[in-house]
């Protein structure tokens, strides 16, 4: 088990090297002057020049990349060119909002998606199945920002039930949660339905029926448990993706999350923050997927046996 975790963590290293390279490279395509950003518009040209040299910005791209990587592996993510604050600190300040948003949306997606998926599969070809499948299609095909705006218009502006921006309370999160969850509800519903339909056809489900077991127990104890594997993976992947992918929703609802931090930092060419935030998200994503893999073990004894052997 420990070996397995270690292996996964080591795999992070090349991932980070590549991510940093790509992000760095893209940001480098447009000229930037960190000296100007740090010293402000009023600074003299000589001072700006001197600062750039101090930061090593006169050096070629690869040299800067290698230097950054070395610092990174020493645990130093650098400081923001714009605010002068530590990158780690700035990202973590924004983290709670993004995590709350992602986690809430994932939970909503799982609960609603899985329940509707079960209903659709158990009552295949019925009205529930048709309604569920149609709902999944609708939810998946409308873009998040559009759904977000519609929810704002309806629940914030027309009905006035919920706030449309900010992060003061749980109520503030309800609309963003639902907006973010839409795509998940769709994917979880479809995944649960397909997976459950498949496992309902398995021989061991027939064995359970042949024992005289009640249909509800047959579904819950025998079919569902085996159908859950792909659903868990997907939920984990969804959550991981969300951590870095809530920009749209954060923007629509003016939430100060990591997504908006990256967005504003790209606009202001605050390279250390952009790269640092993305590296942190990549690490989080890997950790989430690791947890998902460990969760597997609890569902599938075959996988558990494999961990223990490794």
């Amino acid at each position: 088990m420990g070996k397995f975790v270690l292996k996964r963590l080591l795999a992070l290293i090349p991932t980070i090297l590549i991510i940093v390279f790509v992000v760095y490279f893209i940001l480098d395509l447009t000229p930037s002057s960190p000296g100007q950003l740090i010293l402000g518009q009023m600074a003299t040209e000589e001072a700006v020049e001197a600062k750039n040299i101090e930061l090593g910005y006169d050096k070629p791209f690869l040299v800067r990349y290698v230097k950054y990587i070395i610092q990174l592996f020493q645990g130093d993510l650098g400081t923001s060119w714009v605010t002068g604050k530590g990158v780690l600190e700035s990202v973590f300040a924004r983290f709670p909002v993004t995590v709350t948003l992602s986690a809430g949306a994932t939970v909503l997606g799982i609960v609603i998606g899985v329940l509707l998926g079960i209903l659709a599969a158990v009552k295949q070809y019925s009205i529930f199945d048709a309604a569920g499948t149609t709902l999944a299609m609708i939810l998946a095909s409308f873009p998040a920002f559009w759904i977000g705006m519609m929810l704002v218009i309806l629940f914030a502006q027309e009905l006035g039930w919920l706030p449309s921006y900010g992060t003061g309370s749980i109520a503030h999160y309800i609309l963003p949660w639902f907006t973010t969850a839409c795509a998940f509800i769709a994917s979880q519903l479809r995944m649960t339905r397909t997976s459950l339909l498949e496992s309902i056809r398995m021989d061991y489900v027939r064995t359970a029926r042949a024992k005289g077991q009640k249909e509800s127990v047959v579904i819950y104890r025998h079919a569902l448990r085996n159908a859950l594997m792909p659903v868990v993976t997907m939920a984990g992947m969804n959550f991981g993706t969300l951590l870095g992918g809530t920009v749209t929703v954060e923007t629509v609802f003016t939430l100060n999350g990591v997504g908006t931090l990256i967005l504003t930092s790209i606009r202001s060419k605050d390279v250390p923050v952009v790269v640092g935030a993305i590296v942190i998200l990549a690490i989080c994503y890997t950790l989430v997927m690791l947890v998902v893999d460990i969760l597997y073990g609890f569902i599938d004894p075959q996988v558990k046996a494999r961990y223990i052997k490794n």
């Binding site: 064995t207 029926r209 024992k211 005289g212």
Partner: protein, 330 residues
Amino acid sequence: MEEKKTLLEIKDLEVIYQTDEATVHAVNGINFSLNEKETIGLVGETGAGKTTTALTILRLLPERTGRIKGGQVLFRGENLLDKSVPEMRRVRGAEISIIFQDPMTALNPALTVGDQVLESLEIHNTAGKSKQELNARVDELFNLVGIPAERKAEYPHQFSGGMKQRIVIAIALACAPQLLIADEPTTALDVTIQAQVLKLMENLKEELGTSMIIITHDLGVVAETCDKVAIMYAGEIVEAGTVEDIFNGKEHHPYTVGLFNAIPNLDEKEERLRPIDGLMPDPANLPQGCKFGPRCPHFTEACKAQTPYIYEEKEHRIMCNLFKKEAADE
């Protein structure tokens, strides 16, 4: 010999599968009966309707497609086809058990084998036994089928095919059913294991006095284990009788003759029997009259005209016009 009591009687049973593309006539009016402590072998090539017959007895046909069009399944005089769903649940696993074709997939991979045996006991625990008593019974069942009871906390993937089949048998026997249906219990196993499992089933039958329906395409298995035989072809029983009738009788259905001719040599065992030239007709599109007609060496126009003559001599029944002619000649 003591008076035989009828346990199961199947009358004019007709089952179809209604799919979007076709109506599959899987079982077409079969009749057979089974006494207490007796074993009947249901023999026939793939697609003959053997599994369908077994599923129908337990009312486990696929819900959407499988339909029982007519007939009766009398179990101790009661028609199972008239029972409500909860009544049927009390029969399944308690009075009639089934062992399915493939032991590799018959067990739930996510539950320990002990829990899967225990489940049967819990469902039918009408006597309100304690958890300890039930667990003791699980141990007993494991010993009965020859698996150390300590291994009950393991998962199916930790067992070999033959051992899985033993566990499946333990599940089926848990509540001491009066009737055990074994659908090709050994086909998926290799030859040495086959013999072991058959021996085990034979012993259990002797000990527990369970009646059995053994579904197989292996006449060797039938000869070893059965009292009666029913030969199925295209959803019909073309010949039925005692083992003596089938193995040593003078009169036979041409299909049975083909089956015996096709028994492979010991050293070149075939997967499936291919007794006679040609294939079984598509059950979605059955021929007129005798369904064996297109493959029969004795085919005449009369065979096509209507369902064949039924020859009967005590328990021996053959569905073929050949014997009608004989009767007329004499």
